[in-house]
Symmetry: C2
């Protein structure tokens, strides 16, 4: 049992770690040669170009202005300065609402902190139950519910506090849901014209012997939406083309690498082997070889493009159908079209950036099977992942290694290597698995057939949360692997599960406090340092970058990463709500996390992340639902805990709480969720009418015609030199439409805005905002 | 433990009971004076009038044709003769599809019977486990799974059979869902023009300071559905009017009663007391008193009608909005209208007959609270209903009665009365509760705020099924009240629940066989006798009937009673599926029930029941879902049972079954359910186009204008004599519209179709069908 002193020490260590990270960040970010790592967002928005102000050569790479180092924490107030409406304008609604999750954490836990410390800490402290019991205990336990004697009347204080916590949390949740809903509707309302407002994605177009998919779509919608149908675009299977373009890109990178190498050392032309990984095969001149390869691929790409455009096999039974009005699209997206509900399925088209093109052609039956398979797979992944990991570990121990690969024996027997392997190997399989987990979950979601990246991320997030709940939270509370727990719980009574876990809860408080400090505090500080992108950028910069455009591409802005970030926050909500009443001492640690993470992520969103898509905060129902879930779990565990404390009269009083919370959830679901799924006709009609009044002669058809062309066509286009103007789809047009579709970011790339580095702070936001306004 | 002989005896007893019922029915139905009890459907359709053929006075009441008695079972083939399309035409799709539930039972269980008797019975019989164990056992147990030794390999036969049962059931379910979906779509497609095809119910119209509800509705829909909106009708709160009309009707009945009495015995004017229940108060001339009362009520009704029409308080924030096309209505019903998803809620208007008028004005928040309250109430009703019942029972014992009502003591002490009370009282509270249960559940559904009668019945049915599952099925298997079980199960492990129940399953086979015979066989035979309507009709006929119209009203055709009938069938599905593999002997009893009930209910639907509304088989997803649920329960219980039989390797093989079944359910939900909830635009467009081609000059507005007037207005109208033509809503019009809205039944009332009683069978159906065709 840790004492308050131990925790203080741990806190100090973690604070120092975090501080070191922050100082490292402060120093690194001030160096001009790191500018593209720490301010990529501004480069992408075209508001900042490569630093060339200082004049001196050294000044290009190292910041020599000592004053800027003194104000190394200045980024914090800077990050908080930008007002929310400007943040939405700058980074999109998704990012702005994502930050509100941290704010919600603060809103929920600050009042809880005051209430519990004012009431529960004295109630817990003024007992001598632990002293009497003569068990080993620490000061923390004296502050927790453990210090209350069996069947004491003081438990009523905890019951009342549980009610207070529930009501306050629900109140805060409702307020927040309301705000986010308003923000979303306002965002959708004030938005500029976007292709997805007029477009519906139609899947499962039935095959027709007499008509092509394109004709079938046109006829169907001309008949069934005669007044509203405008145009459509069939979905093309461009997966092979996409592979070829990828390959060409990689070859081009290598070409640049070898050319750079040759430039630096003109004496010798670089050579390479053509075989596997460059380890075997014929030796050829690397530059010539790559030029030839690129030529070959360019031809292949041109051919494949022709192929995709003309072959009926490449046309998938899906189409993006555009309407004359938003009203028409809203109607089509929300209604059933055909008699057979598995044909002519319609849904809102995601933003063009957000479409996950590969999944557009999965038939209905296959979808059901895929979902079922993935549900089963996820169950096994959650509860049995430890089996293959343990198997790999058993292979990877010293004895196993010596036995299976006896030729390695002489090397392994060397002492320092042996020690290293013994210390390192057993853990590595698990570590690798945990690092790969988000990717595995993402692949599972992709396999399930979701059609937009935002949807994929939401699905992965909910699975990642469940995994964490069982394998991080439960596995920490009830020590032992989840598999063992599953076994135990199946043998236990339904009634006993909450009390088994509930009893273990107060004992694990110190563990979770440490967890919050390591994962929450130091982890968040590590996030701001961006060590991985930093290294990768400099490697690329050294080997591949020749032109300013290459440097642009070497920059990896990254994104929020909803699928890993949100489940982590949710874990803190869960821990915070569970311990709010049980061990009030834990709440401040949670609060520090929320406050610190809020500042850090606000900074990152303003300066670093470049959100790939805009889902208009479509994830909020998930966030809300998981917090409500955490609330209910906390109530059940408290019931279980009080049940074992012999407080027979206090426990039934808690019974109403989960029921009320469920009722609250149902209410919110009905009241707010539709705003995240549907698009009200009133809204659509209003925008239509306004637009018609403002631009009566708008050529909508031209605007929408090629909005939903797979991006790979555009990419293939910009890379290839041999244009074919005779194709049905004019390539010139794509490029033009691309400008219309994309946000204004690219078009401003060359605006000369002075770098603000010499200020030793992030760019002057208000000034830029001023310029950014239309 | 019952032997085969015991069961044979029980079967004989029940068969004889059923036979007695059938003979009584055969005799009673042939008597002309019972004609309106046993053939009300034909009277309501106007295809049969009161018997007046025989001429002789006696012949009017008693059938003297002895030959007709010989063919007393002729109704059975007659009932089966009518082909399904004509049945749909005659009684509606709801009734026809309801009968298919019984057919589905036959389809599922006949192949199961053959398979299990061919394979499992020999496998079970050729063991001597029960003989070896020397426990008491019966022949039935020798045929069941109990006779297989522990950890025998023979259990694989049961596992294979469980797979076969699952696949067959799923296959039959899918086929049936497909058929019913087709029938529904065909029915909707081939239907005549009906107001509900064009109409959407709009709820939660927001209050507006400047506009009345009617104006607000008109403006909103003119703006947001400019091309499709036609007209609307606000919902009026006519609950008080309805009460007055009810009261008037009752007084009129009494008036007729006293007039009849006076006519029979002219010597003395009937007198009555005005006080409570006619027991106290002033003595007055009954006829004069009632005439005065009716006059007063007529005035009140006229006044209240004025009130409802003109007072803004009587106007509810809801309206029936009609559109120019089915397409427009389909669009409006399936989309969200306003920003705030709790305002301007739209849904398909139910058929005018199906509307439950009282619930039309419940606001959104109140609905959430009501649902939550009812969920909690239903939980307590299911698990704790025994507490108040036991309390009433404890009050109602002799000692309690003597103590609480000591003035009754002298009476109670009389021996025969005491014996009667002692034998009768303890059970009576429970009996009354069980009789009242469907009514209680119906009141709960009404409180929840459902808007159509069909919806109310579906909700009640699902609750009734749950109640039966816990209190009839589980309580019979695991002896003891559900409350005790709940306690036991909460203390048990999750894993143990299926095995606890599973082990008890084979032992309860004889109990359920008896249950099927008593409840299923004799109960169904009792249904055809219609004892209650018979008695009530003759009482009314004697006291109240003066004119032919009165007789018409005295007739109580009744309806299928989906809310009580369907849960009962589902219980048989559950028992049948559970015992299919465990005790194959039970299956034939289930089959006899399904076959017999099919014939009986087919007869009743053709000759008796008068369905109040037509939901176009909207209940099928519920039926399907509950059978799938029963299948999963049967799989879990078999797993539990095999688990205790030491067949460790056979049990995991079953694990895939519930998962596959769930997958099947999901598939069906996606594939078929939308046809029961939405109306495809393709369909709507097709009907619109056809109609426009056929009747280009149709005055749709006139047709729809008053279709959704509360029925009470029409009733109040037809009863009152003092018309007011200055009202906004022309009363004449209602009457006219009424003809259009209602089915053709009333209009044909006077068609002279000869009674077919002298044939000693139900009317010649084909002949009547011929005439019934347009």
């Amino acid at each position: 049992m840790a004492t308050l002193g131990d925790i203080g020490l741990a806190a100090a260590i973690n604070l120092i770690t975090a501080l070191i990270f922050l100082i490292a960040f402060a120093i690194l970010r001030l160096q001009p040669f790191n500018d593209r790592v720490y301010f990529p967002k501004w480069y992408l928005k075209g508001l900042r170009s490569s630093p060339a102000t200082s004049g001196a050569f050294v000044g290009k790479f190292v910041n020599l202005d000592y004053r800027s180092y003194l104000r190394f924490l200045n980024w914090m107030p800077d990050a908080l300065k930008m007002p929310e409406p400007e943040l939405i304008d700058h980074a999109g609604l998704d990012s702005a609402v994502y930050l509100r999750i941290y704010l919600l954490g603060l809103k929920i836990f600050i009042p809880i902190l005051f209430a519990t410390w004012a009431i529960l800490v004295p109630v817990n402290w003024t007992n001598d139950w632990l002293e009497q019991s003569k068990a080993t205990y620490s000061d923390i336990d004296k502050l927790s519910i453990s210090n209350i004697p069996q069947s004491s009347h003081r438990f009523y204080a905890h019951v009342v506090m549980a009610y207070a916590v529930t009501f306050w949390t629900c109140f805060a949740l409702k307020k927040e849901y309301e705000t986010v809903t308003k923000m979303r509707l306002h965002f959708l309302q004030s938005e500029k014209r976007r292709p997805d407002q007029f477009t519906v994605l139609v899947k499962n177009v039935p095959p027709d012997a007499d008509e092509s998919v394109s004709e079938a779509v046109e006829h169907f919608f001309l008949v069934n939406h005669p007044d509203h149908y405008l145009t459509h675009q069939v979905v093309l299977n461009a997966n092979k083309l996409s592979e070829l373009v990828e390959e060409k890109k990689s070859k081009q990178n290598w070409l640049v690498y070898y050319q750079n190498k040759y430039e630096r050392k003109q004496s010798k032309r670089p050579m390479m082997k053509t075989g596997f990984l460059g380890l075997c095969g014929e030796k050829v001149d690397a530059i010539d070889h790559h030029i030839a390869e690129i030529k070959r691929l360019s031809d292949d790409i041109a051919e494949e493009k022709e192929n995709v455009k003309n072959s009926p096999k490449a046309i998938m039974p899906a189409a993006f159908v555009s309407f004359k009005t938003r009203w028409g699209a809203a109607v089509c997206a929300q209604t059933q079209q055909a008699r057979n509900p598995t044909l002519w399925l319609t849904e809102w088209a995601p933003e063009p950036r957000d479409v996950y093109w590969q999944n557009l052609a999965i038939p209905y039956v296959s979808l059901t099977v895929r979902r079922l398979l993935m549900a089963v797979a996820f169950f096994f992944l959650t509860f049995f992942f430890i089996i293959p990991v343990a198997f790999v570990q058993s292979l990877a121990n010293i004895e196993g290694l010596e036995k299976n690969a006896s030729f390695l024996k002489p090397i392994i027997e060397i002492k320092p290597i042996k020690a290293f392997i013994q210390g390192f190997l057993p853990g590595i399989a698990l570590k690798i698995f945990l690092i790969l987990l988000p990717t595995i979950l993402m692949i599972m979601s992709k396999f399930e057939g979701f059609l937009s990246i935002s949807n994929l991320e939401r699905r992965s997030a909910s699975r990642y949360y469940l995994f964490n709940f069982f394998n991080v939270f439960l596995a920490s509370v009830v020590t032992g692997t989840v598999l063992e727990q599953l076994h135990t719980f199946l043998k236990k009574s339904v009634n006993d599960i909450p009390s088994t876990i509930g009893v273990a809860i107060p004992m694990k408080a110190t563990f979770f406090i440490t967890y919050i400090m390591v994962d929450g505090w130091s982890g968040t500080a590590g996030e701001i340092l961006r060590l991985k992108p930093l290294i990768i950028y400099h490697l690329k910069n050294f080997f591949l970058v020749k032109t300013e455009k290459d440097r642009e591409e070497a920059m990896d802005a990254g994104s929020i990463g909803f699928n890993t970030g949100e489940p982590q926050i949710q874990l803190y909500f869960l821990i915070g709500l569970i311990y709010a009443v049980v061990t009030p001492l834990l709440t401040p640690f949670i609060l520090v996390f929320f406050a610190f993470a809020y500042v850090v992520y606000r900074h990152q969103i303003i300066n670093v992340y470049n959100q790939e898509y805009e889902s208009s905060a479509a994830f909020w129902p998930d966030v809300h639902g998981r917090i409500v879930g955490a609330l209910i779990i906390s109530q059940l565990l408290l019931m279980g805990l009080l049940g074992t404390k012999g407080s027979a009269s206090a426990t039934p009083l808690l019974l109403a709480l989960p029921i009320l919370t469920l009722g609250f959830h149902k209410y919110c679901k009905g009241r707010f969720e539709p705003a995240f799924i549907r698009y009200p006709l009133q809204e659509a009609m209003m925008k239509d009418t306004l637009e018609r009044a403002r631009e009566p002669n708008l050529n909508l058809k031209g605007y929408l015609e090629n909005a939903y062309l797979p991006p790979i066509f555009k990419e293939a286009e910009s890379d290839s030199d041999d244009d074919d103007d005779d194709g049905e789809i004019s390539d010139k047009k794509w490029a033009k439409d691309n400008v219309l579709v994309a946000t204004k970011r690219q078009s401003r790339k060359s605006t000369p805005v002075p770098s603000k580095i010499s200020n030793g702070s992030s760019p002057n936001l208000l000034e830029i905002q001023e310029k950014d306004k239309p």
